[in-house]
Amino acid sequence: MDWKPVSLSSSPFDQSWYEASARARLAGLLDTDTFQEFVGPEQRRMSPHLPLFDLPRAFDDGMIVGRGRLDGQDVLVAAQEGRFMGGAFGEIHGAKLVGLLRAALAVKPAALLILFDTGGVRLQEANAGETAIAEIMRAITVARAAGIPVIGLIGGRAGCYGGGGLVAGTCARLIISEGGRLSVSGPEVIETNKGAEEFDSRDRALVWRTMGGKHRRLIGAADAFVDDTIGAFRRAALAAIPAAPAFDLATLEAEQARLEARLDRFGDARDATEIWGRLGVNDPAAVPGLTTEGFDALLARLPEGPHHAR
């Protein structure tokens, strides 16, 4: 895939989301200088468990939570730092997001945004991380039922894997870029457990077309496909807020129908290109090379409307 060269522009909107740190993503995503952090790094609430493994700790445990404004609207935000422990969910990392979701019920933001960048559960704190993911999913549904749009943004180095993939699937709207990968078992996990014949994790083209942003957008697993810039994620987040579906029986019945239809139509497909062909894409082999403009034009030409119940 094509990566943008390092931007020569000084505008934060033009910076690569993939290359940026979690803090830089937040600073650029939100209105200038509006971010306020909760339980910030100055409090040094670090993992009590990593020292057992002689591993370095981070003052923010790889999770940054707080509030800010998005085009003037009050929002709550959480961002995972994929460069610390692969953005994995540990006890404190997870508890910060649980707290933010619970706070949403009291402070009633216009939206709560989760900037995913995670390999899943932190194995050194596996039981705490796994339980935190269950708490986060429950808290997301409680926030959504209270009318708060919970929006996921996926475009970081670590992708969105493991329990992170399940948390993403609980959000009301998902925005993804080419670099974003969304899945449960990662390529290396499948290869380790089932062999390279099942999944060759070194075949990067296979990884992108099975788990990458374009495929996820085409099958309806994500709502918007965006360029790898902070500005593109910001515009898509703004557009997603008013479009977030309610969390109710009607939404989940529509999602049930959407997921059953996918099994019926594509259950025997061997590769993503087969699915794209059945969706009406004339030249599936050309999809990975399409620019965002080209991809948007392709989406507009496809015979079906979006399937967005989630």
């Binding site: 993403a168 078992s185 099994l263 590769d271």
Partner: protein
């Protein structure tokens, strides 16, 4: 470790007057009498891996219960493998199917169908999160053995010798597999007595279950997650303080 209770013995103890619960391809569904009403049952048996078809089927049964209304509680019986690990499952969006099942259970609970998980065997990773961990109350039977990842796999990832991990597992509950450790974190709220009628124990748990998520408070009390509850509460406090400070007239 005690033996795991077979599903037919479990169902007989749960429903002494008989039931309409069946198992096909490792997927459990049906219902039986409980108190004056019915108890809906879904689940996974025989350490089956949970893939896209299974998650979709189970979610459909949960939504059937919600659509019918009436407040029927839902019991989720789990003896599973992890999520099914395959290229095909991921190609078709396993994360959506597993999340959908969890959301169906969470919606059911929020709409007056109390959900209770009962772990009677194994479970791991995504299959655990999508089923038993998506219930209001999770109980287990002795002999259950949940894990996020087994120790040999943890050894591979962390590059620590297995012997070192086994020694560490004796003094900390936070990473090692096993029922006791998931009780310590607060994920498993109660361990049931297999020698007493399960129907009564299940009915009592449903009657006593808290509406709010108390797992982090339990993890604090039991020592398995010393900080999660405090951190979450502190985030809530700081968020409210900042908003109050900016409120008009403050």
């Amino acid at each position: 470790m005690p033996d795991k209770m077979p599903l037919d013995a479990l169902l007989a103890s749960l429903f002494p007057a008989g039931h309409a619960v069946t198992v096909a391809d490792g997927l459990i569904s049906g219902d039986g009498p409980l108190g004056g009403g019915r108890l809906a049952v879904i689940g996974i048996d025989g350490e089956a891996a949970l893939g896209i078809e299974g998650a979709c089927f189970l979610a459909g049964r949960v939504l059937d219960v919600v659509r019918a209304g009436g407040g029927t509680p839902i019991l989720v019986l789990i003896d599973s493998d992890s999520q099914r690990m395959s290229r095909r499952d991921e190609l078709l969006g396993l994360n959506e199917y597993l999340a959908h099942l969890a959301k169906a259970l969470l919606l059911a609970d929020a709409q007056g169908h109390p959900t209770l998980g009962l772990l009677y065997g194994h479970s791991a990773a995504g299959a655990f999160i999508a089923t038993a961990l998506a219930t209001r109350v999770l109980a287990a039977l002795p002999g259950a053995h949940p894990s996020v990842m087994d120790l040999p796999s943890v050894a591979r990832v962390t590059k620590l010798p297995l012997k070192t991990l086994q020694d560490m597992a004796r003094s900390t509950s936070v990473f090692a597999p096993g029922l006791d450790n998931m009780v310590q974190t607060g994920a498993v709220q109660a361990v049931l007595d297999p020698d007493k009628p399960l129907g009564l124990q299940v009915a009592a748990l449903i009657a006593d279950s808290p509406a709010a998520d108390t797992r982090d408070a339990l993890g604090h009390e039991r020592g398995g997650r010393p900080l999660a509850h405090d951190i979450a509460a502190q985030v809530v406090r700081e968020a409210q303080d900042r908003v109050l400070r900016e409120a008009p007239g403050a």
